[in-house]
C-alpha cells in the first residue's frame, strides 16, 4: 500500500479541484438561483432570473477553481462567494 501514497498525494490537489469545479460550482450556481429570490421583483420573475444567471455563475466558478493558485484557495474562493448568497437565500427560505 505504501506505493500508492505518492501518486495519490500528487493527484489529490487536481482531484480536489475537479470536485470543486463540478460539484462546488453547481452548488454555487444553485445557491445563486435561490438567492435571486431575494431580488426586488415578483416571484416568477425572480425564479427565472435565478435560472438565467446560474450558468454564468457555474462557468465563473469553474474558471476560478482552475485559475486559483492552489486547491485550497479554490475551495476558499467558492466558500467566500457562497457566503453572501447563503445570506440572501436564507432570508427567503
Amino acid at each position: 500500500m505504501m506505493s500508492l501514497v505518492g501518486p495519490v498525494r500528487r493527484a489529490a490537489p487536481v482531484a480536489s479541484r475537479i470536485v470543486a469545479a463540478l460539484f462546488g460550482g453547481y452548488a454555487l450556481a444553485a445557491l445563486g438561483s435561490v438567492a435571486a429570490l431575494a431580488l426586488p421583483m415578483s416571484k416568477p420573475q425572480a425564479v427565472l432570473t435565478g435560472m438565467l444567471a446560474s450558468f454564468a455563475i457555474y462557468a465563473a466558478a469553474v474558471v476560478w477553481v482552475f485559475a486559483a493558485r492552489s486547491a485550497l484557495r479554490a475551495w476558499a474562493g467558492l466558500l467566500a462567494a457562497a457566503a453572501p448568497l447563503l445570506l440572501a437565500a436564507w432570508s427567503v427560505w
Binding site: L37, P44, A46, G50, M51, V63, A71
Partner: protein
Amino acid sequence: MTTDNVKRERAQRPAGRGIRQSMSGLHIWAGLLMGWILYAMFLTGTVSYFKDELSQWMRPELAHQAELPDPALVAQRVADELGAIAPGSPQWSMRLPDGRTNSVYAFWRMAPGEAGAAPGRRAFGEAAFDPTTGGKVTARETLGGDFFYRFHFQFHYMPVLWGRWIAGAAAMFMLVAIVSGVITHKKIFIDFFTFRGGKGQRSWLDAHNALSVFGLPFHAMITYTGLVTLMALYMPWGERTAITTPAERQQLTAELNAFIQPGKPGGQTAPLASVADMVRQAQERWGQDAVGRVTATNSGDSTARVAVARGEAGRVSMSPQYMLFDGPTGRLLETREGVGAAAETRGVLYALHLGRFGDTVTRWLYFLVSLMGTAMVGTGLVMWTVKRRQKLSDPERPHIGFRIVERLNIASIAGLSVAMTAFLWGNRLLPAGMADRGAWEIHLFFAVWALTLAHAVLRPARTAWIEQLWAAAALLALLPVLNAVTTDRPLWHSVAEADWVFAGMDLMCLSLAALHAVLALRTARHRPKPRAVPAKARGGVIGGALEEGRS
C-alpha cells in the same frame, strides 16, 4: 498542487503566465472530454436549422406546396379530425403550416383510461396531417428532420431526461471551454488574422482559432442559450423554493408557454365553436401568416377552451402570445401579449437559439456559422492528436489514451457524416409499408455509426479517415441520384417547378459531397511533419541537427 510545487513552478515561470497556462489546460480537458458528444450535438443542431425542409424531403409523397393554404381552414379541418380520432382528449395542439412545412404536426393527450394509457399516466398520440384534407398524411412513416433535432438535445435509446442531462453537461463543458479559450488566447484579435498553412500543428491551431474567434459571438450565444432552453430542468431550485401552490405554478407557466391547462371537464358535451373564426381573429391582430399554433383543452366538453398562439417567425422571442377563446361559444376571453422582464429575456434567448424568427437569409447565416462551430469542435479534437503525436516516444505504438482519442475522432467526425447520410438513404430505401419504419430509419443511422467505429478501430488511422471521408462523399453525391430513381422528384423537376426545398436538398448534398471529397484529398496528401525538437530531447546532437535542418 502542493505548495512546494507551486513555489518551484512560480520560480520557473515568469509571473503572470499562470492563468493562461491553467486556462489552456482547462480548455483542452473540457474540450476533449466532451468533444465527441459536442461535435454530434453541433452537427445535428446545424442541420436542424433546416429540419422542416428535411422533413419535407423525407416525405416525398406530399406534393410541393406552391402556395400556403388558408390557415383558418386548415385549423378547422384538423380540429374536426382531432375531434374524431381523439374524442375526450383533455388537450390537443396543432402547429399550423408555414412556408417551410407542408403538413400539420399535432399531438394529443390520451383520455385517462384510454387504450394504451395506464390509469394515472399521461400518454400522447402524435401525427402529421394533410392541410388540404385534414386527414393523416399518407406519406411514409418517418420522423423526418425531427430525428436530428431531437437527437441534438436528448439523443436516443435513453429516457429523454437522461439525454437532456447529458446534453446540459456537455453544454456546460462547452461554455467553460469557450471562456477558458478566450482567456488563454491573449492575442485574440491579432490571431484572428493569422493563418499559417502547411505547418502541421501550427496550421491546425490557426484553423481552430479562426473558426472559433470569427464565430465567437455565435458560439458563446448558442451555448448559453442552449442551457437556457432547458434551464428549468438544470436549475429547478429557485422554482422548488418559491413556487409552492398550483396557482403560483400556473402563474409561472403562463410566463413561459401558451399551453393552457385543462380544468376538470364539466361533463356536458358541447361542440367546439368555429376554430376558423378564432384563427381569423388572430390573423387580424397579428397578420395573415402570423398564426402558429392552436391548442384546445377539453374539446367537445362545455368547459372547452381554445388558445390561438402567435407564430415564431418575425418575432425574436418565444414568450407566449395568444388569444384565449371559450370553446363552445367562440367568445374571446383573454389576449395575452406581455410577460415579465425576466420571462421576456428568457423568451428572447430561447428564440436566439432556435433561430425560427429568421427569414431565409438569416437561417442560412445561422446554418453557416453553426457549421463553423462544428468545424471548431472538430479541428480542436484533431489538433489534440496532431499535437500529441509529436510528443509520442514511439509513434508506432502510441499509448492507449492517444489511440482511443484518435479512433473516436474518426468515428465521431467522419463517421457521423456517413451515418447521417445513411439515415437519408434509409428513408429512400426502406419499404413504405414496413412496420415501425420510422424507428428503423433511426436504427440504421446508429448501426452505420457503429460500423464506422469498428472500421476506425480495425483500419490504420490515416486510412480510416480517408476511407470514411470518401464514403461520406460518395453517399452524399449519390443521394440525388437515389432520389431521382426512387421518387418522381428528381433535381431537374424540382428546379423546373421552383421547388427549392427538393432542389436545395439535392444541391446541398452535392456541395457537402464536394466538401468531404476535398477533406479526403487533403488528408490523403498530408504527410505529418516531424517537429524540430531540441537536440538533447531527441537524444543526440546529430539527430537534433538533422531534425532542425528539415523543417
